[in-house]
Symmetry: C2
Subunit: 279 residues, 2 copies
């Protein structure tokens, strides 16, 4: 059996009892990414907080492993219980459908243990989930690569008065591999880019740049948005206000996301008031 277990958004205590019970009985425990493991902290013994908490070692299954070497994990799951841990929900913003498809093709039974993910926890800001349109992703602009297909999607959502969740680009040690240099090829090892995550500020700068290029008045610096950092964590920060105001705020460590607010109902407005920058 392969248990695909969502860990939720905060710390080690955001796992469900069902998820913890599954981990306890599994012979091996994998986790989706090295940076995810680190985000839960390291104890003074050098062990990860999660390993201490579960009383078991965790095998890091970085992006390469998931894509190329997952079969070993799945072969193990054919003969014993194996857990694969995922931050948030297994089918949240980052989906693990490909792993589930591969498991099912190998005849491995899969059980999913759900949890909160950014896709539903954003409800905490008071904007109702059923009034969101299509979700967009904002990628890091480079000098030569400035894709803006999100603009058209935001336009459609705003025409309909719907809210737009903007997921902001981020990648850890495990996700993006630099273009191999001659040196790294000679040494036969991959060189990873340092982890990066997009702040709400950068996202707004890019959004305003794209609006300036297209000039279709989809939004502007006075458009109300909600910036949310470390949602679901003890130190989450939620601020509602016009883009130009959110630009000036330091939201702190990752992860960040941004909602562009559509038409609002009275209860939504009352909730947003609690998060306006003035308070």
């Amino acid at each position: 059996m392969l248990y695909v277990i969502g860990l939720g958004l905060g710390d080690e205590k955001d796992i469900t009892l069902r998820g913890l019970e599954a981990i306890k009985k599994c012979s091996k425990v994998y986790m989706e990414a090295y940076t995810s493991l680190l985000s839960f902290g390291i104890t003074s013994d050098g062990l990860s907080t999660l390993e201490m908490f579960y009383g078991k070692p965790i095998i890091v299954a970085d992006r390469e492993m998931v894509e190329e070497k997952a079969d070993n994990m799945l072969f193990e799951a054919q003969v014993s219980d194996v857990a694969f841990l995922v931050v948030g929900d297994p089918f949240g913003a980052t989906t693990h459908s490909d792993l589930v498809v591969r498991a099912k093709k190998l005849g491995v039974d899969v059980k999913v243990v759900h949890n909160a993910s950014v896709m539903n926890a954003i409800g905490v800001c008071g904007l109702q989930l059923y009034r969101y349109g299509e979700t967009v992703s904002i990628p890091f602009f480079t000098d030569t690569w400035r894709p803006d297909s999100f603009y058209e999607k935001i336009k459609r959502n705003r025409t309909l008065g719907l809210h737009t969740l903007c997921l902001l680009d981020h990648f850890g040690l495990d996700i993006r591999v630099k273009e191999p240099t001659l040196e790294s090829l000679c040494r036969g090892k991959k060189v990873y880019e340092p982890p990066r995550f997009m702040t709400i500020n950068t996202a707004i700068e890019q959004l305003l740049e794209v609006e300036q290029n297209h000039m279709e008045s989809v939004y502007n610096e006075d458009t109300t948005c909600v910036g949310m950092a470390r949602i679901g964590c003890e130190d989450q920060v939620i601020v509602a206000g016009p883009m130009k105001q959110l630009l000036t705020i330091d939201f702190g460590p990752p992860l960040h996301c941004l909602v562009i607010v559509g038409d609002t109902h009275p209860v939504e407005e009352e909730m947003l008031e609690f998060y306006t920058g003035s308070k």
Copy 2:
């Protein structure tokens, strides 16, 4: 402190450790609805499974209480720790923003403990959450009341190739009060309608009726949908297929929901294949 705690979608083991710890230290524990409490089961002693599990009594806060008598609960929360339990996530399909707004106005600190809700757990069928458009609600049609504003929303989503989550009408003993009869007024008590929930079959019948009335070819009986019953529970049922096929399937007890499938990517298609009626 008022803790608003999501219980997730399955049984008592779907609460998070964080949620359970909060309940343990609260002086009083409220729950949003009588039918929600019952859905977790009753022990042979006549206690609810949840009360046994927590070792505490649970005070049922039915819809009336939440709207009219919540202030008592909030006054308690001003001087001690109080838990308010919600099936799914506190800000999922049914939002509890109004309670949070009232709490904040009274100066009561609020902590939200997130969990899975139908709004993100539907990801398990393999359709990616960021490719959903606006969510629609399908209300029970009566002889005289057949509202179909969902049709226009589904049309927009389908024009854009997006998936549509249809939330299906349901109400328990606690939610809908019958129009008072002369008799009930004389006796001074309210008469409740029996609990009802809409099946996937009824939803599809209503959808096809509305299509016949509007004739805008938004969907038809060959349109691929995914019917999902008791999502996140041990006995969940997920079947993908054309509307006419899903019409013939008995999905069993509540709750049901339905997704009208938009344009699909290859990985989405592979996942849906596992759920096609033929398998």
